[in-house]
Assembly symmetry: C2
Homo-oligomer: 213 residues x 2
DNA sequence: GTAGTAAGATAGTGCTGGTATCCACACTCC
DNA sequence: GGAGTGTGGATACCAGCACTATCTTACTAC
């Protein structure tokens, strides 16, 4: 298939496809002549993954490069690929202040939930510490080890189920694509469901308390 | 306190404070002279909420207007304020295509989990339907009622606990601020924890399966 | 009085994520 | 074999967003 068909199939403007090609996010098609190149299904899938990461995950285009690199590294075990992808997704360009106390809290929580095999340089670990100090900084929004452990247990439950539901019959590259898009899209799904749940339970208690009414 | 002190206290550049004042996100201070105005603690708190929504929640500045409108409406019950805030947070400017089948799936899930008191015009409900059709559109990432119900049950557990932990002794405006920032920041916390959990469990199974290695 | 800062208004900036245009040529269809 | 469409490749341009800088007028603390 030619570029324009590729753009059609993935429902992405042609100009954008060209842009992604320029940025090296999409491998060049197989050149079949001076002004001709062929693209295949892998390009369509790649394009869809990129679009989901951009539009649902909010990942900046420049960071997509790192995702692509991780996806294409055949040497890496799958969980390390996902680690790199998670790093990119959670990356925040801003402040790099460190709060050692918050990091201690995070490590205590991770130990409690039994995740003892995480890379210490994980962006997520640091990001978590940043969030914890944000919560503890101004007012009484206490992010204690107990409360965080509650969230960690809930997250463990969700993550375990997700991994157990994986389809191990497909080939590696497709498994990875499923993992990445699943992680991003179901992440949003959970987020939205949690907000709906908060509304429901707030409505539930609002008849019992004078303040919430 | 004067503007510059307000900016200091909330750790926001003075120019940005002025910008937020211009945009009506921050109520004007009490004018004490032609070129003089006084700000207080409520301004500091408001500013911190705005910053968290912007930087952690990724809410665009223009949408913040709707959030402050909801926060300032004394008539609204708390769960409705949170509903409006959730709408703003989940809003996506893009495509407004509708997939009736996906909406049916969503409603079935919401019924199963017992959230029968949601406003039908909720942005979250529509957003969920969009996510479901994204998942079902291309490949085999099936978002069935069963799988979504699993997520909904997990979200229900988290949301119920959050609501039960609320501190009902503080006054309304502070409760609301806690709710909003908590919803946004703990949302990120959960997201990050889930990613870490996925990595842990992927590493766990990767020794057992040839594909994941 | 005078130095320093406030408030308020307006204009400009840097970054991101694309679009648009152009070109010289090749393929397709009559 | 000629017309018309479409290609790969390069470069220029653009809109939106979140600020940021500058300027003016005037108050206030020393």
């Amino acid at each position: 298939m030619l570029v324009s068909e590729l753009a059609d199939r993935a429902d992405v403007p042609l100009a954008t496809v060209k842009y992604y090609l320029r940025e090296g996010l999409l491998p060049a098609g197989e050149t079949t002549g001076p002004r001709r190149a062929e693209y295949d299904e892998t390009h369509v899938r790649r394009l869809r993954v990129l679009r989901l990461l951009r539009e649902v995950g909010g990942v900046p285009v420049t960071s997509l490069r790192q995702v692509v690199d991780a996806l294409e590294d055949e040497e890496l075990p799958i969980h390390e690929v996902m680690g790199l992808v998670a790093d990119v997704i959670s990356e925040e360009p801003e402040s790099e202040f460190h709060d050692p106390a918050a990091l201690d809290v995070v490590d205590e929580v991770l130990a409690r939930v039994g995740w003892d095999d995480l890379r210490p340089e994980s962006v997520d670990r640091r990001r978590l510490a940043t969030l914890v100090s944000l919560l503890n900084a101004p007012g009484p929004l206490a992010a204690t080890v107990e409360i965080l452990s509650f969230y960690a247990k809930a997250a463990d439950h969700v993550a375990r189920t997700e991994v157990d539901l994986l389809d191990h019959t497909v080939e590696r590259s497709q498994l990875l694509e499923q993992l990445v898009t699943g992680s991003v899209v179901y992440g949003q799904v959970f987020q939205v469901l949690r907000q709906l749940g908060e509304q429901h339970h707030l409505a539930r208690v609002s008849s019992a308390s004078p303040v919430t009414r």
